[in-house]
């Protein structure tokens, strides 16, 4: 082999990946931006320049801002709960116990169930009449409790959050278990000798040591939560009414149900901009930026 092929080798092997990322990553981004300044709908190919009309319409779109609020509610409640439960479970399984691997293997199963199936499963469980959960509650209450989980405005968010927590707490648990196992024991022992209590050691040493991993886990889960779509689709379909419609669901309906092509482009772009701001802020706050 001569030297010339070698010199281009590093570009040849990275090129296919970059090409695909440009095709499916950057191209759609630019195209969305272009479309959002036009008057396109699926039925009418009106490519005339609309100026900022679509973006101005965004600000008057109450359903859009409500969908952002719904997404924020789910994220803000589910994320800390998953973190705390995951951390408690990781503490439980941190020390060796016989059969530990079997427990871990079983507990991870909810995470690999397709979210669309997870939503459907919880719809089954929470069925007001045929579901087992109302039966169990009724057993403890001493009288039948036909709770309408997916219809009652006060119960529909708990229903979504139960499903979320059930599916993703094991994910947090696995990551945090690995992080806790890597914490330097000698530091903890030294603190114990100094007479530091359990909580003091936990907050001063353990939490500080696992923070980088915890921050990445929060970021991964946070990014998943703000795009939540599947569970909503199969559990509540955004209902009752539009009460649990998240931003992803609303965007989907605008684009593929209302066929508002240009307007959907504007929404998609707004989401990307908002998300970039929030994520950049979060990465800075969590000290992940190098």
């Amino acid at each position: 082999m001569g030297r010339t092929p070698d010199r281009h080798f590093k570009y040849w092997i990275v090129a296919p990946a970059i090409f695909l990322l440009l095709l499916v990553g950057l191209f759609p981004l630019i195209y969305t931006l272009v479309v959002s300044f036009q008057r396109l709908t699926m039925t009418e190919a009106d490519t005339s320049f609309a100026g900022l009309a679509n973006y101005i319409a965004l600000f008057h779109d109450r359903r859009l801002w409500q969908s952002i609020l719904h997404t924020a509610i789910i994220t803000v409640i589910a994320l800390p709960l998953e973190l705390v439960f995951g951390l408690l479970m990781a503490q439980l399984f941190l020390d060796h116990m016989p059969g530990r691997q079997v427990f871990i293997a079983l507990l991870v199963l909810p995470t690999i169930v397709s979210p669309i199936v997870a939503g459907a499963t919880w719809r089954l469980l929470l069925d007001n009449h045929y579901g087992p959960i109302n039966q169990i509650i009724g057993f403890f209450a001493g009288h039948p409790t036909p709770l309408l989980w997916t219809v009652n405005p006060y119960l529909v968010y708990p229903a979504i959050i139960f499903c979320e927590i059930w599916q993703w707490t094991p994910f947090m648990f696995l990551i945090l278990l690995a992080a806790l196992a890597n914490v330097d024991r000698s530091q903890i022992e030294a603190a114990e000798i100094d007479g530091a209590g359990y909580w003091r050691i936990f907050f001063r040493i353990v939490l500080r040591a696992i923070w980088p991993v915890m921050a990445v886990a929060l970021l991964i889960r946070g990014l998943d939560l703000v795009r939540i779509f599947d569970i909503i689709w199969s559990l509540t379909s955004g209902g009752p009414g539009t009460m649990t419609e998240t931003t992803s669901v609303y965007t989907y309906l605008q684009g593929f149900d209302q066929f508002e092509t240009s307007y959907t482009g504007a929404i998609a772009f707004l989401i990307i901009v908002l998300l970039t701001i929030v994520v950049t802020w979060a990465i800075r706050r969590m000290g992940l930026a190098k």
């Binding site: 082999m1 070698d6 590093k10 570009y11 092997i13 990275v14 990946a17 695909l20 990322l21 095709l23 499916v24 990553g25 759609p28 969305t32 439980l92 399984f93 116990m97 871990i104 293997a105 079983l106 507990l107 991870v108 199963l109 909810p110 690999i112 169930v113 397709s114 669309i116 199936v117 997870a118 459907a120 499963t121 089954l124 469980l125 045929y130 087992p132 059930w166 094991p170 994910f171 696995l174 990551i175 278990l177 690995a178 992080a179 886990a217 795009r227 779509f229 599947d230 199969s234 931003t247 965007t251 989907y252 684009g255 092509t261 959907t264 482009g265 998609a268 989401i271 998300l275 994520v279």
Partner: protein, 283 residues
């Protein structure tokens, strides 16, 4: 002898602690597996048992009718579609991603900027991607085709694969590659014969996640398939009705789609656990 005495309550306390941990562990397993149990049992129930009040906690007999119903009209074949799409995109993403990661690690191609740009591609939510991709695919005539979805899944997995494989490739000793080069191997040969085999455990760990991502996808398949390459996740939602849902079909279809992944993960358990923890530590 007297010195051993205080050890007895200590031992007992340890025993109580362990018993308590077991109790909580078993309760956790029951809580977390009950939904899966209910889904599986639902698929074996008779229509009478599905709509029984109070609910039947386990079916009297294992009815396979819900499953048999899925085969004649080709509904069950959607699992095969999921398998083809997830399998093909995983293989392609692993090959292209590992090649790119090798270039980033060994030749510092594009520097830190390229690596950051690649990972930033993963932050864009699918709903923002799928809409323009749909318009692009209509233009190309790629809607409802295997290659259309395979390309999309591959591209969507690439940032994750590249990011993960960087860590594994960094761990390969440079001397191995150098000696292969001295022996007259071309760069391509080194890549195939040294880098890929050496990064094998990393490849498996990453591939498990890439596969699960594509397998579980719903939104891309919902928008980009019609009838030919419908995936199982989309098929499940076809049984939801306005007034009543076809629970026997929903549960049987869900089990058909869930079981292959459970089996795959059971076989690749150690890679999965390592993948999750490595992803957080290195990613």
């Amino acid at each position: 002898m007297t010195a051993a005495l205080p050890a007895v309550p200590m031992m007992r306390r340890k025993g109580v602690r362990l018993a308590l941990r077991y109790l909580i562990a078993v309760l956790l397993v029951i809580v977390f597996l009950f939904p899966i149990y209910w889904l599986f049992m639902m698929s074996f129930k008779t229509p009478g048992e599905i709509f029984a009040y109070p609910p039947v906690w386990y079916p009297k007999s294992l009815q396979l009718k819900s499953y048999i119903d899925l085969f004649p009209n080709g509904d069950a074949a959607t699992v095969l579609n999921s398998l083809i799409l997830a399998g093909a995109s995983t293989v392609i993403a692993m090959i292209l991603g590992t090649m790119a990661a090798y270039s980033l690690v060994r030749f510092k191609t594009g520097g830190e900027n390229l690596a950051v740009w690649i990972i930033s591609q993963r932050m864009v939510p699918p709903i923002a991607i799928v809409f323009p991709v749909f318009l692009l695919y209509v233009f190309f005539g790629w809607v409802d085709t295997y290659h259309g979805l395979i390309i999309l899944y591959t591209a969507f997995s690439l940032p994750y694969v590249i990011w993960m494989m960087r860590g594994y490739i960094e761990d390969i000793p440079l001397e191995l590659e150098e000696s292969a080069l001295v022996d007259g191997c071309s760069r391509w040969r080194v890549l195939w014969r040294v880098v890929f085999p050496m990064a094998r455990s990393g490849l498996f760990a990453t591939a498990v996640f890439t596969f699960i991502f594509a397998w579980n996808d719903f939104i891309f398949a919902l928008v980009l398939t019609r009838t030919e390459v419908t995936t199982y996740t989309v098929q499940v939602t076809h049984y939801f009705g306005g007034q009543s849902n076809f629970w026997s079909k929903i549960s049987a279809m869900s089990v058909l789609g869930t079981l292959p992944v459970f089996i795959a993960v059971a076989t690749l358990q150690r890679y999965l656990v390592r993948g999750i923890s490595m992803g957080a530590v290195k990613g």
